[in-house]
């Protein structure tokens, strides 16, 4: 069976494209870095790919709000292609700036389950961290085990770096959150590492730096109602190997004990990308 084809967007200040492409390749995908304008100008078509990844970075310098200008380019120039991609049931991930882009195009959290296809209406936002600072620090994440998200299947709790200045997830009202929570679309949240695994998620705002940004309900990432489109602020690709975990020199970097890709050195972040590749293969 041929490897699932992954389009990894780049250009205009996206800057995590190489590592995002690499982690898909490590788990059996066949990635290609594609400049946004190649899709816009029709040199390439999104339809030819099985998975779309919008990596982290500073698209257009994040001026006028993170992800805004890239979001607009996609919303106006790739509207039909994106709609068709989602309608075809193909997975999309946005990481950090990519998550911000997907939120600002309206793909996340997206319309409700009764009519799940993209309508490109922005319903949420990611805004400046309460601290007012861009920071690179490691956080602990916990996943909703009942989420329909195909990307987070089987994941419970991982350590992961965040690297952003605008990661505070906000929506206009509590009912917006309640309906996402009811659908298990709040796929991943910041948690206190001292809580028992599986019991970390809480709606009460956690203090800095457990929650690095003051995100409402400690949200780190959300999926759409189909579970195919997923975005998160932390960088799972940056912990694809244990040697990227800050504790690896202490002999205590967590992760699987063996893997085809990296032997005993696979990091906790790689499974997310394997999930998507395996999902595509399972649908063939």
């Amino acid at each position: 069976m041929s490897a699932p084809k992954v389009a990894v967007l780049f250009g205009f200040g996206i800057n995590c494209d190489r590592e995002t492409a690499a982690v898909f390749d490590l788990v059996g995908g066949k990635s290609e870095r594609i400049h946004v304008n190649n899709f816009v100008q029709g040199n390439r078509v999104l339809e030819d790919f099985d998975i779309l990844a919008v990596p982290g970075g500073f698209s257009f310098g994040d001026h006028l709000g993170s992800g805004r200008l890239m979001g607009n380019r996609m919303r106006f120039a790739l509207r039909e292609q994106l709609h068709a991609f989602v309608a075809a049931g193909k997975p999309i991930i946005g990481i950090c700036n990519g998550f911000q882009v997907l939120v600002k195009t309206g793909l996340l959290p997206g319309p409700n389950a009764s009519n799940p296809l993209p309508d490109f209406v922005q319903r949420a936002s990611l805004t400046l961290n309460d601290s007012g600072r861009y920071e690179d620090r490691w956080v602990t994440l916990e996943f909703d085990s009942e989420s329909p998200c195909i990307w987070t299947k089987g994941l419970q709790r991982i350590d992961c770096p965040v690297r952003h200045g605008e990661g505070k997830f906000v929506m206009p009202s509590t009912t917006d959150f309640d309906s996402l929570a009811a659908n298990h679309q709040l796929a991943v949240r910041y948690v206190d590492p001292n809580t028992p695994v599986g019991q970390g998620a809480t709606d009460e705002p956690l203090p800095f730096p457990i929650s690095p940004n003051g995100s409402m309900r400690n949200i780190a990432g959300v999926c759409d109602s189909t579970g195919l489109v997923f975005g998160l602020m932390p960088h799972p690709e940056a912990v694809y190997a244990k040697w990227l975990h800050p504790h690896h020199t202490r002999g205590s970097a967590p992760g699987p004990t063996s893997s085809e890709a990296l032997g005993e050195w696979e990091g906790e972040g790689l499974q997310m990308f394997r999930n998507a590749v395996e999902y595509v293969l399972s649908k063939r």
């Binding site: 006028l64 607009n72 600072r133 190997a241 800050p246 202490r250 990296l262």
Partner: protein, 1015 residues
């Protein structure tokens, strides 16, 4: 064209914050102790276009404001809305850019504007300008709106409009207008008559900011007296017996100290008043830096390219080579800390992109030297307070590095009063490239041929950045020009970088270099040496604004530009690639073999200089150097009375809080140090990820643990005693740091970055001979240590005019060498970090503590507190570096073998501070005995900064193997890591230190945290 105003402000409500306002409020508290009840913010856009305001207003939520979190108004000021701003504020201040200053949010907004309102071509005149308004509530008495405005903007590049409480009460709000650029008038090239007196020649150089001395002016004069020159000039229709202004400016840039390193190339008459030495040194650079490296190049196969390119290149493995370069951006950072530092980092990124046929930047380093952030003394005119310089420089490097997607993996911040006069801002970048390109060419070799078309790629040329190279070759004065200041545009550069690397891999590039100092004059001029000639048409160069004169176009240092040569047959593919990436690429020149640097403006020749004269015509400086050893008052700790109960403990807490030692985590965390997913040892390490890292380690090929170590060393205060010792200490520190991370000591390379005060004796610099002798000694030590360590210096830079003012008020920096090391790390899974790993770990000192407390951090602290008369005494020396490197090799290979996971070098604050940091990183205690660590006083063994030392932690099961591994090397057992949360240090039966780890954490972490928290 009409101008439409749009204003945006954060929505108020549950869970929502005005974060930009909060940041201003916290900084007023942190920097000035001023409590303000609330600060709110408005972001403004002034859109100059042909689109009617009503159309813009209808789309405002699609672009300018985010409807979930922000409200917007069009064609009015938000402050007039009682709904949004019901209470009368105490002050409202609007800050916008001056005309012509780079406005990155404005450029991005205009790009987004064109997405919404498609226009056939970017209209020449249309653009967006941005501003910020801050609204203050609850200002304490005595805090005036004018003063607040002065803290919020830099009047060199920004404008402020202020409404004080009186104006606010009367609803007179600060409205800023669109910054129209004043028209520039094109001045046709002028002939510059050089048949004038010597005094007039000097005057011409000074008033024209040419920074050329009399002999250089006379050399130029002589060139135009040559009959052969005159007739060849007549043949191309340019004035025969005099330079044009274009030529004179071009020569001034090319011959500037900044570009030609004239002091390092000079012939020096050196006298040592103590040894009686009286000798001639024909170029410090060739003698002490280039020759040793070339000698080493004969013995190894991995030194691919040294000195001649934008950075030095080494082979890393069979498939990849790596390169590194560090630069300084001191003068611009003094005038505009934010913009100056940002152009520093994005500028050195371009050096990497311009190496060989184009390398990809993969890691940044930054090292800053500032005045003390808590400085309470006077400040000379026109200089910023050190805390403001720190904030601005930090923000510039943060934005430049983060937005470019390059991790900052290593650095340092050093404080000394004298850096108030000139901050030092060192920015370094590591690059990687495939050794062979897909078309089979070796990537480190440029392959231009005559006939290749030369493109200017990236940004446009503007009035900004004229005279940067010559300006940095002069001392800073109150009249320093604002045109020397620029703000970087990382996104324009990132687009260019993406495009250039694609073009490289497609085989489209034959030659590439960056546009830095000297602009096109330098970049094309240098590349033209390969083919021995070029012909440039300045009229083709795209401009930010019309009206620039020919010489201004040639020498402007406007940022984000590369100069790239392409074969004529590849031009259409190259241009198509540029279009796809939305990068401007314009053919502006052709390589020739004419021997001439031939510059035209349309059909007129405006400069016609022989390549040889341009590059090799500058006369060698003849300088005088005289050494005598400085004799500052001695540091004598034996007179210091310690409280018997507490002994050295309070000193250790104070030392941990010294700015030179304290944690810089709150600053460093704001740099992305993990993008590219390769950073295996991060700037902060340990159980809580907040202990000091000694060196950065990256594994840049995804899936492969093969690593690269990046480290640095800097010890400027040793120059107070001996600049030679300063240089040796800097190199040794950089190497020790790399060893802690497990560098292969047989495959590492170094970069020497010298920052010196003016060293040419003159009325302005009466002690020039001594300062030059300091440079001589530093370079002699550099050669001695580097030869012993077999450490080639593959790239370097010098900045030789780091002074402020003149006469009694003159401030000269301490002579400073930053030494950076990058080297091979065989496997990042086997490295070491400074944090103790847990109770039971056995602790050793590698190396010997000598009686070397001169210029130590302890000496400076006790002098400042009045406990000691001076800092004098024996400075740390490196008498036998050949011995040191064998010890380092043994230690590093022990790390590779998995015997050691804990290693930390002893530098500022000596063994005591190093041990404290290791406890902090591991959040564990230790019980250590320093008896037997050297035949020196207890003060020296505890606090001394003797070189060549490390503290090592080894697991009990590896202890015997480790001790055997290190046999023959100086190794002393110190004690054991405990789970007591106490650091106990004794000297035999004498108790020296007994401190709780949490107290040390507080002292070390809080001193430099100027973030103001998150409240």
């Amino acid at each position: 064209m009409t101008i439409t105003r749009v204003e945006v402000t954060p929505k108020q409500g549950a869970g929502m914050r005005d974060v930009r306002g909060d940041v201003v409020r916290r900084q007023l508290k942190a920097d000035h102790g001023i409590d303000v009840t609330e600060v709110r913010s408005i972001t403004g856009f002034l859109i100059k276009s042909s689109v009617p305001s009503s159309d813009i207003s209808a789309r405002v939520d699609d672009l300018f404001s985010d409807p979930i979190i922000e409200d917007a108004v069009t064609d009015t000021l938000f402050l007039t809305s009682p709904h949004h701003f019901p209470t009368v504020p105490d002050a409202a201040i609007t800050v916008g850019f001056k005309p012509g200053v780079t406005d990155n949010p404005g450029s991005a907004a205009y790009d987004g504007f064109r997405t919404l309102f498609p226009q056939p071509e970017p209209l020449e005149d249309a653009s967006v300008s941005t501003y910020q308004t801050y609204i203050f509530y609850g200002l304490p008495d005595g805090t005036t709106a004018e003063w607040l405005a002065s803290t919020l903007h830099n009047n060199l590049i920004q404008r402020a409009v202020v409404s004080d409480i009186g104006a606010c009460t009367q609803s007179q709000w600060p409205a800023i207008d669109y910054p129209e650029k004043p028209p520039q008038t094109f001045t046709p090239p002028q002939a510059m008559d050089l048949e004038i007196s010597d005094e007039a020649l000097i005057d011409m150089s000074e008033s024209g900011l040419l920074a050329l001395n009399l002999e250089e002016m006379q050399t130029i004069q002589g060139h135009y007296r040559d009959a052969a020159v005159q007739s060849s000039r007549a043949a191309v229709g340019i004035v025969g017996n005099a330079p044009t202004d274009v030529e004179l400016e071009c020569l001034a840039q090319t011959w500037s100290e900044h570009c030609k390193h004239k002091i390092f190339a000079s012939k020096i008459h050196h006298i040592d008043s103590e040894t009686g030495e009286d000798s001639i040194i024909d170029s410090i650079f060739k003698t002490h830096i280039m020759k040793p490296t070339h000698d080493m190049q004969k013995e190894v196969d991995w030194l691919l390219s040294v000195f001649h390119d934008n950075s030095g290149v080494i082979a890393w493995d069979e498939n990849w080579s790596v390169c590194m370069k560090a630069e300084t951006h001191n003068s611009p950072s003094a005038l505009d800390p934010y913009g100056g530092a940002m152009t520093g980092i994005v500028g050195v990124n371009r050096d990497i992109l311009g190496t060989g046929l184009g390398a990809r930047p993969i890691a940044n380093t930054d090292v800053f030297c500032f005045g003390p952030p808590n400085w309470e003394g006077d400040l000379p005119d026109n200089l910023f307070h050190p805390s403001r310089v720190l904030r601005g420089v930090h923000a510039g490097v943060r934005v430049g590095g983060n937005e470019s997607g390059i991790p900052t993996v290593n650095g340092a911040i050093v404080f000394d009063d004298r850096y108030i006069g000139k901050p030092l801002v060192y920015c370094g970048t590591v690059g990687i490239m495939p050794r062979l390109l897909p078309d089979g060419r070796e990537s480190h070799i440029k392959t231009p041929t005559a006939g290749d078309i030369v493109y200017m790629v990236g940004g446009r040329v503007g009035y900004d950045g004229i005279h940067g190279a010559t300006f940095s070759s002069l001392e800073l004065t109150e009249e320093s020009p604002s045109s020397a200041v620029q703000i970087g545009d990382p996104i324009t550069q990132k687009k260019m970088l993406d495009m250039v690397l694609e073009a490289r891999d497609a085989g489209l590039i034959t030659c590439i270099t960056d546009n830095g100092a000297g602009g096109l004059s330098s970049s094309i001029g240098e590349m033209a040496e390969y083919t021995n000639g070029c012909e440039i048409d300045l009229a083709k160069v795209p401009l930010k604004q019309p009206g620039l004169s020919a010489w201004e176009i040639l020498v402007s240092e406007s940022q984000e530009r590369m100069t790239i040569a392409v074969k004529p047959s590849d031009c259409s593919a190259f241009e198509a690639m540029a279009d796809l990436h939305e990068v401007e690429a314009t053919p502006v020149a052709t390589f020739t073999s004419s021997g001439m640097f031939h510059v035209k403006y349309n059909d007129d020749t405006v400069a016609y200089l022989p390549i040889e004269f341009l590059h090799d015509g500058v006369p060698q400086l003849q300088l005088e150097s005289e050494w005598h050893t400085p004799q500052p008052a001695l540091f004598n700790p034996s007179t210091i009375v310690l409280d018997e109960d507490e002994n050295h403990s309070p000193l250790l807490l104070k030392m941990l809080a010294r700015p030179n030692i304290a944690s810089k985590e709150s600053w460093v965390r704001q740099y992305d140090h993990e993008v590219i997913a390769q950073t295996a040892v991060k700037p902060f390490v340990g159980i809580e990820r907040d202990g000091p890292g000694d060196a950065g380690v990256i594994a840049p090929i995804h899936g492969d643990p093969h690593g690269l170590v990046i480290s640095c060393g800097i010890a400027p205060r040793y120059s107070d005693l001996d600049a030679g010792a300063m240089a040796a200490a800097s190199i040794d520190e950089a190497v020790r740091n790399a060893v802690c991370a497990g560098v292969d000591v047989d495959k590492m390379a170094g970069l020497d970055n010298f920052c010196w005060p003016d060293s040419i004796e003159s009325a302005k610099t009466p002690d020039g001979k001594f300062k030059l002798a300091q440079l001589v000694r530093a370079n002699r030590e550099l050669e001695r240590v580097c030869r012993a360590y077999r450490l080639p210096c593959i790239s370097g830079k010098d900045s030789m005019k780091n002074d402020y003012g003149s006469g009694e008020n003159k401030i000269s920096i301490p002579p400073t060498l930053l030494y950076s090391v990058f080297g091979d790390q065989p496997d990042v899974r086997f490295t070491a970090t400074s944090d103790f790993k847990g109770a039971g770990e056995r602790v050793y000192l590698v190396g010997v503590s000598k009686e070397e407390l001169g210029a130590s951090e302890l000496a400076f602290m006790l002098k400042e507190s009045g406990h000691s008369e001076g800092i004098g005494g024996q400075v740390p020396l490196l008498p036998n570096p050949e011995q040191n490197i064998t010890t380092y090799r043994a230690l590093s290979t022990a790390i590779h073998a998995g015997l050691v996971q804990t290693a930390h070098d002893c530098s500022e604050g000596g063994l005591a501070v190093a041990a404290a940091e290791m406890c902090i990183g591991g959040r564990v205690g230790a019980e250590l005995d320093i008896d037997g660590t050297g035949h020196s006083s207890v003060w020296s063994r505890l606090w001394g900064e003797s070189l060549g030392r490390f503290i090592i932690g080894v697991q009990p099961e590896h202890e015997a193997d480790f001790v055997e591994w290190m046999s023959g090397h100086p190794l002393t057992f110190l004690g054991t890591v405990t789970d007591s949360q106490e650091l106990i240090i004794s000297d035999g039966y004498d108790a020296l230190v007994n401190l709780e780890v949490p107290a040390m954490v507080d002292a070390w972490q809080n001193a430099l945290d100027m973030t103001g928290g998150v409240a």
